[in-house]
């Protein structure tokens, strides 16, 4: 059943927000869960995307995605009124939400999108939220206003200092952890290396840390094992056991290598797609 796009806007250079019809998912979803999207049925890849928000009354969900490869680039070219053929979900375990006390939420780049609903949920459960959001450069900072609205404290950092503080997210994270009143929990979502270093930082202070992993997936139901990661020496499937895990136990190095499995082929697909769009004159 096609899912109509009812809203679309661009958040930064390559990041888009779309609102699509998906009534069943809108009413069932909880923070931390994701969907798998296939633009068309015959040939499209199945790509996992976090549910960034939902409106159960309208029957829509919001997805925020970065155009990094062929499928996401193709999606970025869909407009309001266009449809996505397949969306399945909500998938994965919802975030464990309760009142912990103070929670530090760290987001990097597109990771801010999956982080937002979790931070929101934690806020609603009565936690004090300290948010740290970062990106390479000013244009890539997304959802700042949304984070401002739900955070008791917000720090924005960029790698190049073009906006906010010039730092990597791990710096303010370290400061927050060294304060007198240590946070009860950290949530870190972003590129895999960022999550790895956040976990190394919080480990020093014994602050339990939740990460949300974005491995390669196919079915999202536990059937293929393609999303497997090593957590605490055991094999886990991100799509059913996760996507959130105890960050201090995740084998990030192995995960990063697995995520590069299709680098060459992905580049090939993207190049072909771009070339094709240029030829038919659709690209701006």
């Amino acid at each position: 059943m096609p899912h109509k796009i009812v809203n679309k806007n661009q958040l930064s250079e390559n990041v888009y927000r779309i609102e699509v019809e998906a009534a069943n998912i809108a009413s069932a979803r909880k923070p931390g869960q994701f969907v798998i999207v296939g633009i068309s049925t015959e040939y499209s890849e199945r790509i996992p995307l976090t549910i960034a928000g939902a409106d159960a009354d309208k029957g829509t969900i919001t997805l925020i995605f970065q155009a990094v490869g062929k499928s996401t680039a193709e999606m970025a070219n869909l407009e309001v009124g266009d449809s996505i053929d397949n969306i399945v979900g909500p998938l994965g375990q919802p975030t464990h939400i309760e009142k912990f006390g103070t929670v530090v939420c760290v987001g990097g780049g597109i990771g801010n999108a999956p982080l937002l609903p979790i931070a929101k949920g934690l806020k609603e459960a009565g936690n004090k939220i300290i948010s740290i959001i970062g990106a390479r450069t000013k244009e890539l900072i997304i959802l700042e206003d949304e984070f401002k609205a739900i955070s008791d404290e917000l720090t924005v950092v960029t790698d190049d200092g073009s906006y906010g503080r010039k730092a990597l997210v791990t710096e303010p994270l370290k400061e927050v952890c060294s304060r007198g009143e240590k946070p009860a929990l950290a949530v870190a979502i972003g590129p895999t290396p960022m999550m790895k270093f956040c976990c190394l930082t919080t480990k020093e202070f014994d602050v339990p840390t939740v990460v949300s992993l974005n491995t390669i997936m196919i079915d999202g139901t536990g059937m293929c094992g393609g999303c497997r990661v090593e957590v605490g020496g055991e094999t886990k499937f991100v799509c059913v056991d996760g996507p959130e895990f105890d960050g201090h136990k995740v084998n990030f190095d192995l995960m990063m290598k697995r995520m590069n499995a299709y680098k060459d082929l992905e580049q090939e697909a993207l190049d072909k797609y771009k070339e094709h769009r240029c030829k038919i004159g659709l690209d701006k």
Binding site: R46, I218, D219, G220, L254, E266
Partner: protein, 464 residues
């Protein structure tokens, strides 16, 4: 008995390993007639007992011999909704054909009447004939079928025929279950499965793809909130087993499910020619296992361009659970069989990509619980085989999702749903069958359970 067994024409090995089209081409009229005449019409027809759905084999084969294929089709359809599928994928040599008098007389199962091939011949002949069954008057009762594998298809068809309002819920974006995402095109053309689905839709069955029961809605919600009076669970055995050996996390190690799903469902063989899902461009591939799943993986790897494919199996060839025909086809296509060997670990390079597998040689020892001789490793026999891809095809366990999300539903210790003889579960109104009950089994067994479950559901809804 003077007529020799009729071989089924097939694509030449050198040709077919470069395409994904069906390997076995099916009998011609004449071959079918000759093959059917090999049946001696035994009085007690022992073959029927070998068929899990008890097709009246003797009569349908007799009808083909008489040249009345229409009648043969009608006989088959009394017990079998997916004849074109089962004629292709049933392990006939351990089912109907194992009991065939002709084969027994020669003490050679390959000499038996080729019942499966004949079934396929008839089914293919009438494939395009519109034989949509009659539907009883609407009962207003709603039946949910979870999973669109062969079991689910049968239940949906039978319950709809009884006049119920049937909806199939399928997690994937395409219906058909393992027949679509697992068994490759070259063995079972997807168009055949789609035909069966189309038939259901024509009968008025509703189909909701991209619907993961347990997550999108739970079984309880379907029953308590959405008004389904009965539910059939046919979710298959979707949990890949790994070997828990060193190196299984390396890049280039796939479960057979992942490999086959990428290749079949996502059409990775067309990557760059339309399809967006990539798959490893392998040169040398090792497949671990000896069942149909292993054969399918090995033969798929060849079609994706691998130069060398090794099938590594720890028992001997006689013990391989794969269908004889598939073993034969795999060998013809050049898959190298390494029997009585088993991987000990998978070795990687500095980028964590598969570089080789280290194997141990085995010998056969005393028989184990299954009656097969237990393979015992020979100490110190380690050796390496250079490969860039490894596919683990040692079977599937039960997916735990429904267990986690359906309180009150009883499972056994392997995670399979417990049912009684009528395929009824521990929850009133909920029935189950196929691989989620039997463990990884076969298409025809899943269909057999589907029939039983459908009968129970129709009975239950009559009283309810």
């Amino acid at each position: 008995l003077k007529i020799p067994p009729q071989e089924m024409p097939a694509q030449e090995p050198d040709v077919r390993k470069n395409n994904v089209e069906e390997v076995a081409l099916g009998y011609t009229e004449e071959e079918a007639r000759l093959e059917a005449m090999r049946c001696i019409q035994c009085k007690n027809a022992p073959c029927v007992e070998g068929c899990p759905v008890r097709i009246n084999i003797k009569d349908f084969v007799g009808a083909i011999a008489d040249g009345d294929d229409q009648k043969a089709m009608e006989i088959i359809q009394q017990n079998q909704l997916l004849a074109a599928v089962c004629g292709r994928v049933c392990p006939q040599e351990i089912q109907c054909q194992a009991k065939c008098t002709v084969g027994l007389r020669y003490k050679d199962p390959t000499m038996a009447v080729s019942i499966g091939r004949l079934e396929r011949f008839v089914a293919d002949k009438f494939l395009d004939n519109d034989m949509t069954p009659k539907i009883a008057p609407e009962t207003g009762k709603k039946v949910a079928v979870v999973g669109s594998g062969p079991g689910g298809i049968v239940v949906a068809g039978e319950c709809r025929r009884a006049g119920h309002d049937v909806t199939i819920f399928e997690a994937f974006h395409k219906p058909g279950g393992v027949m679509v995402y697992g068994i490759p095109e070259f063995r079972l053309p997807k168009a055949l499965v789609q035909k069966e689905i189309d038939k259901l839709i024509k009968m008025g069955v509703k189909l909701e793809c991209n619907f993961l029961v347990g997550r999108t809605r739970t079984v309880k919600q379907l029953m308590n909130e959405d008004g389904f009076q009965a539910v059939y669970i046919g979710v298959g055995a979707g949990l890949p087993k790994f070997m828990n050996i060193e190196g299984e996390q390396l890049v280039g190690v796939y479960s057979a499910n992942e490999y086959l799903t990428r290749a079949n469902l996502m059409k990775a063989y067309d990557f760059g020619k339309g399809a967006d899902t990539p798959i490893a461009r392998s040169k040398k591939v090792a497949v671990f296992g000896g069942g149909n799943v292993a054969m399918d993986s090995a033969r798929t790897a060849l079609r994706l361009g691998a130069e060398e494919v090794y099938l590594i199996y720890r028992r001997s060839e006689a013990e391989m659970p794969a269908r004889i025909e598939e073993i034969h086809h795999a060998k013809e296509e050049g898959v190298k069989f390494l029997i009585l060997q088993n991987p000990k670990r998978i070795l990687g390079d500095d980028k964590a990509r598969v570089r080789a597998v280290e194997c141990l040689r085995y010998e056969l020892g005393e028989p184990d619980d299954s009656g097969r001789r237990r393979p015992v490793p020979i100490e110190g026999s380690e050796f390496e085989i250079e490969v860039d891809t490894a596919i683990v095809a040692i079977g599937n366990g039960a997916n735990p999702l429904l267990q986690q999300t359906t309180p009150g539903l009883k499972f056994n210790k392997w995670g399979n749903i417990e049912v009684d003889d009528n395929c009824k579960t521990s929850i009133e109104g909920v029935y189950a069958g196929g691989d989620i009950v039997l463990g990884a089994a076969t298409v025809i067994l899943a269909m057999g359970q589907g029939r039983i479950a459908a009968q129970s559901i129709n009975e239950y809804l009559k009283s309810g």
